[in-house]
Amino acid sequence: MDIISQLQEQLNEMSMLAVNTFGTLQRDAPPDRLSTSYPDPLNPNPNPKPEEDAKPQVQGQPGAAPAQAPGAPPQAQAQQPAPPQPPALDLAEQPKAMSHALVLAAKKFDALVAALPLSSEEDQLKRIEGLQAENEVVGLELQKQLEAAELELKQVEVLFNEATDNCINLKKPD
């Protein structure tokens, strides 16, 4: 693909990565904890507080989860760290991976821009004029050679016909 189309594709790729990053983070963001008197929404509680906040400000929450229920039996305590584990990994790893991809895409765009073979318009037009003149000269030369070759071909054909006629006439019938 030519480099400008590659640049356009890279631009589309960057925009796709950006909107996917925002969309994924907004979709997967856990609700924010308004106050310590409310139950921690990251825990598997029957009535988690629904929130509309976008960013996961609650990176510290999985660490605070085990401290939330002081009178809870050790069984529930052991259960608490286990379920939040899978979302915690995603919450930490996903933004890193997505921002890494975004930065890589931006770097690739810059690399493609640096690889652009640019020259000024006047230089290009001058080169085109020079090439056209050279093309004319070479074309005339080619035509001359072609005409000479066709002439020689006709001459050879005439000679060939003469030679074969002579061969046929001189050959004694058996």
């Binding site: 000024s120 070479v138 070759a149 020689e152």
Partner: protein, 173 residues
Amino acid sequence: MAMSASSAYPPPPPFYQLYMDYEQASSAPEPPLPIDGTYTIFGSERQINEVLPSLKSLGFRQLYPKDSNIDFKKELSIVNRELQLHILELVDILVERPSQYARRVEDISLIFQNLHHLLNSLRPHQARATLIHMLESQIHRRQQAIEDIKLRRDEAQKMLGESLLVLDGSQTN
């Protein structure tokens, strides 16, 4: 299948009679002249010299300086940096003041418009570069053909001389 007395196939279109006299004179019609101005294609009218509309005419603000000679590489990298900064700004806004996302999203889309406009402005340059490449390859092919023809003519001359010697030799025998 009914076999009729007349031919079962339709006759050829009558245009073939226009191309009959090749050896004597070309009775074929002239090719149509190239059109100028506007032409209609798929129901809509388009120009022969289609010019990229400026960002202003499309209603977008132009972020890079308006100049007759733009340094495309520099402007593209500058606007790319702007894009990254705006994405980070959007992230910050969503964290702190989520209700004010609209302005930032508009800015980001404006940046993308500018980037695409810059890339589209590079297309005429690419067209000229393609033309240069085509001319160069045509010149190269013609020179190859000239070399080829010269070679063959020399070979033919040599063979002709050799055959003359052979014929003379057989004649004297």
